[in-house]
């Protein structure tokens, strides 16, 4: 690979956010290198979803700096739109567009934002559907698909914009247990292809398999971070130990 010193693709310095008077993010510092897979976990209400949503400014941070691919997120709409073109996002509730077919869901942004011709967008969309394993669902509407299939379409939709970074906000939390694997398989395959990924999840199997680094969030702060080995085998903080023991006992 290249020998020059690598610039981190995401830099967060002292990020704070309040919902009203509730201090939801209390000074988050994080650097993510290109190609890294980062897993963020922690109890509900710890700010992990809010944090990942500040990376593409679905939530505004109120203090500190966030720089994505060299672009700082400020009130400047052009910067925000530029960052959103570089980052794909997958939501807990899929958020597919119910009035469009699967194919139209995937081609919408490439056609309207990237200004691709329709043929090219559809060709890319079909390749992506192939990759997530459901090309035969292209003409259907989201409501006709199972949850796992919908989430795979959502992944394909985000990938169609050819993002440099993929953000996953609890992608398997709304799925029935038998559908979680088909989504995780797609995500593992994506991680192994070298995509930079930030994943908020409690799927510790996924973390163990592909995460480069893990962050444990609690009460708006990063309590502990490290490689999966360090976190699973040798957690330093009591809160991390307690949380892990609660979610791993099954």
């Amino acid at each position: 690979m290249s020998t020059e010193p690598q610039q981190p693709i995401i830099v967060c310095k002292d990020v704070h956010k309040w919902f009203g008077s509730f201090h939801v993010l209390r000074g988050i510092n994080m650097e993510v290198q290109k190609g890294e897979v980062v897993v963020i976990f922690g109890p509900s209400g710890s700010g992990k979803s809010t944090f990942i949503r500040t990376i593409n400014r679905l939530e505004e941070h109120q203090r500190g700096t966030i720089i994505v691919d060299g672009i700082e997120l400020t009130h400047d709409v052009r910067n925000v739109e530029a960052v959103r073109m570089e980052t794909g996002m997958v939501f807990q509730q899929f958020n597919l567009f119910p009035h469009l077919t699967v194919l139209q869901n995937i081609t919408l942004a490439p056609i309207w934002v990237r200004k691709w011709p329709k043929d090219k967008a559809e060709k890319v969309a079909m390749e992506l559907l192939e990759r997530v394993g459901i090309p035969e669902q292209a003409p259907k509407y989201p409501g006709q698909l199972s949850g796992g299939q919908q989430q795979r379409v959502a992944i394909a939709r985000a990938l169609a914009m050819q993002p440099k970074i993929m953000l996953f906000d609890e992608p398997t939390s709304a799925l029935d247990p038998e559908m979680i694997k088909e989504v995780l398989d797609v995500m593992i395959q994506l991680a192994r292809s070298g995509m930079t990924m930030l994943v908020v999840t409690h799927e510790m199997g996924f973390a163990r398999a592909v995460a480069d680094r893990m962050y444990f969030f609690d009460q708006g702060q990063i309590v502990e971070s490290g490689t999966p080995q360090e976190i699973f085998n040798n957690p330093k903080e009591d809160r991390t130990k307690l949380f892990l023991s609660q979610i791993l006992q099954h």
Partner: protein
């Protein structure tokens, strides 16, 4: 039939006699109620039919059919509304071919109605052979348009463009005419009347108030304070005022404030009043739809890099409008019926013609029932087909929705 298939085939639907017995005669009380209802129905139907065919005197309608259609539009210029009818029916036919689901029933009804008007015997000399020929041609043109629309020569986009051109042509050139021209002398709108006015007001009102209403609904949710305050003020003021008052304001007060030479035509003023009124109600209906769209939809659109305008037009509005189709069509139907209120500002619409026909002859004066029933029937037919089309639209858009 073998024994294994017996267990898997669904039970056969009940025969008609079984159905009747099960639903209408399953006990002495229900049997009695069914019989009473049948007797009641029989008397209602028979007495209505007897009244309509033997007692009623339809002369007010049959002696002045042209009045009901076009009002006092100069009889020597009748070819202009006639041509407007032919163009419109041809476009209706084309639209039937393109969107059969919504327009089939209405179009077939029109074909039969127009053909009927061409041959129905009337004692009045005003319906000349030429007018009968025009009705017959209109009827045939619907079918010709249907064949054209069904073939691949005309697609939906072309049809919409043609409709726009023809609507502008009819309402701004063909009917009002061009000042100081000999081929198309001006016909003042005071002479227009009847169904012509009713349809112009209704169609114009619907087409203009819908986009304005959508913009107001979006404006009401805008983050720009000026836009937001203006939208809220507009909607709440208009919704707080009766339509009659608005029509008076537009037809009297607007005329007083504007200098005489820049006077807006009185029908246009009434139309503006209708549009303003209907837009405010449409806006509130659309707002209901906008509020029902989950925020996740907007977030997903933003995360994909769509800008605000694209998010609104591609993601939010298509879903919001689909949700409020029944409410909006209901609004359109009430707008259509509310056009009769323009009578009070002196416009001779269908109802106005009805009122004036009653004064044509002293014999007609007691025939209000016949005249108003006739007008009510016309309104009912149009309203019915509007709500029928809306039902079909809802069904076809429901595809893939949970």
């Amino acid at each position: 039939m073998n024994t294994t298939s017996d267990s898997v085939t669904p039970p056969a639907p009940p025969r008609m006699l079984e159905w009747i017995q099960k639903n209408l005669f399953n006990g002495w009380l229900n049997s009695a109620l069914t019989l009473i209802a049948l007797v009641f129905l029989y008397f209602v139907v028979v007495s209505s039919a007897r009244w309509a065919f033997f007692t009623a005197d339809w002369r007010p309608v049959t002696t002045a059919p042209l009045l009901f259609l076009v009002g006092q539009y100069p009889r020597e210029q009748l070819w202009r509304p006639g041509l407007s009818m032919l163009l419109s029916t041809f476009m209706i036919g084309i639209s039937w071919g393109i969107w059969p689901r919504y327009l089939k029933a209405f179009s077939i009804f029109l074909v039969v109605l127009l053909a009927g008007m061409a041959i129905v015997p009337l004692e009045t000399p005003t319906i000349t052979l030429g007018i009968r020929a025009a009705f017959l041609a209109a009827s045939l043109l619907i079918y010709a348009g249907y064949l054209l629309g069904r073939s691949k020569f005309v697609n939906a986009r072309l049809a919409v463009m043609l409709w726009t051109v023809i609507a502008v042509l009819i309402s701004l050139v063909l009917l009002p005419g061009i000042p100081k021209s000999s081929a198309l002398p001006s016909v003042p709108t005071t002479a227009w009347g009847g169904l012509l006015i009713t349809l112009l007001l209704a169609i114009g009102g619907i087409l203009l108030s819908f986009p304005i209403g959508v913009l107001l609904a979006l404006g009401r949710r805008s983050s720009l304070p000026v836009v937001k305050v203006f939208s809220i003020l507009f909607i709440e003021v208009i919704r707080g005022v009766p339509l009659v008052t608005i029509l008076f304001m537009f037809s009297v007060i607007l005329a007083l404030f504007l200098p005489a030479e820049s006077r807006i035509d009185r029908i246009l003023r009434a139309l503006m009043g209708m549009v303003v009124f209907s837009a405010a109600y449409t806006a509130e209906n659309v707002r209901g739809g906008l509020q029902a769209i989950p925020p996740g939809q907007v977030e997903a659109a933003k995360a994909l890099g769509l800008n605000g305008f694209q998010t609104t037009t591609l993601i939010v509005l298509p879903q919001a409008l689909r949700l409020v189709i029944p409410a909006i069509v209901g609004q359109f139907i009430s707008l259509f019926k509310d056009t009769t209120l323009v009578v009070i500002v002196g416009i001779n619409d269908l109802l106005g013609v009805g009122n004036s026909v009653l004064k044509l002859s002293p014999e007609f004066f007691r025939l209000q029932m016949e005249v108003y029933l006739f007008i009510a029937a016309i309104f009912w037919v149009f309203s019915y087909f509007m709500s029928y089309a809306s039902l079909q639209l809802e069904k076809s858009l429901g595809v893939g929705e949970r």
